[in-house]
Amino acid sequence: MTLTPSQTVGPFFSHALPYAHDWELVPDSYAGAVTLTGHVYDGDGAPVPDALLELWLGQTGDRGVLRRGSGLVSGFGRCATAADGSFRFRTARPSGPYLSLQVFARGLLRSVLTRVYLEDRPDPLLDSLEPARRKTLIAEGADGRYRFDVRLQGDGETVFLDF
């Protein structure tokens, strides 16, 4: 069958796609919570104020995907960037070395999919990349506070994946 092609998310989704506590995969009180913050930049290094990011841990968890219930962990989170291009997530540590991150924006006719590694370590994907590109997938930080920027184009362009 002919697959359905992608189209841009456009600039006007923030009345529709964000939802309450969408960026909080775990509650504030969760022991061992990881905070992941960063910015999205375009090819001029300008912040992207109208991107939507989605984080996936690989398991649905028990907190709910859309309605954050009383469980401890949801596997999915969503965050629209602020006017300065920033985003944030509070999440559990993934069972493996990385989290999956998908980015949508005006001007992206198809989403881009990348990985956030919480530490640099031997890994089939990381080991296949040149050092400069490998670096783009590794979050900076420790002790539960990490930074990860997404550069859509140009210097330091984030590695995006095709499965």
Partner: protein, 222 residues
Amino acid sequence: MIHPPYLSPDYRSTVLRAPAQAPVAFKGDPDAIELTSPVFGHDEVGALDNDLTRQHEGEPIGERVIVTGRILDSSGRPVRDTLVELWQANAAGRYAHELDQHPAPLDPNFTGAGRCLTDSDGRYRFVTIKPGAYPWRNHHNAWRPAHLHFSVFGRAFTERLVTQMYFPGDPLMAFDPIYRSIPDEASRQRLISAFSMDLTEPEWALGYTFDIVLGSTPTESS
């Protein structure tokens, strides 16, 4: 090629946002978490979340439409219990979004956002109003054809799809750089809904069908 190339200069916003490097092919890891997707509980979506005409005190202005279809995998099998999100402009072509500057009226009875889960046959259904065309400043006299935005999850994060549904016979599609960014004509046709007299309800609403076919994951095709 099914999807539009990231760099489609006629759509100006792609020029500084399209990745310059090709995506890195990473296949063959059956444990990659990208091959899985969230599982949605039916209690997470309200019974009326798929009716965009019943979210306020009064009814929205516009041409009432029923839009339904099936979410399928590339083999034509239904994708069950997956989340479908829909958002759109109102009948005058204005979004309920603070940054939309189009000098067309807002409708206090229309937000333009809905969602539902597919049933055991992969089917979703929305009731809404037909959105208006609107200008968007991409080039001189640029107008978007009437469209509904769709977001679908599918069975794998790699299948995650955001797209737009168009209405048959809209003369603006021929001038629209976003629609025309899709290189292949058969793929473009996938985004045009079909009018259905069978779905149309007498004295009530026009019916349109729109199926969405998601890409298979490497695991499924191997």
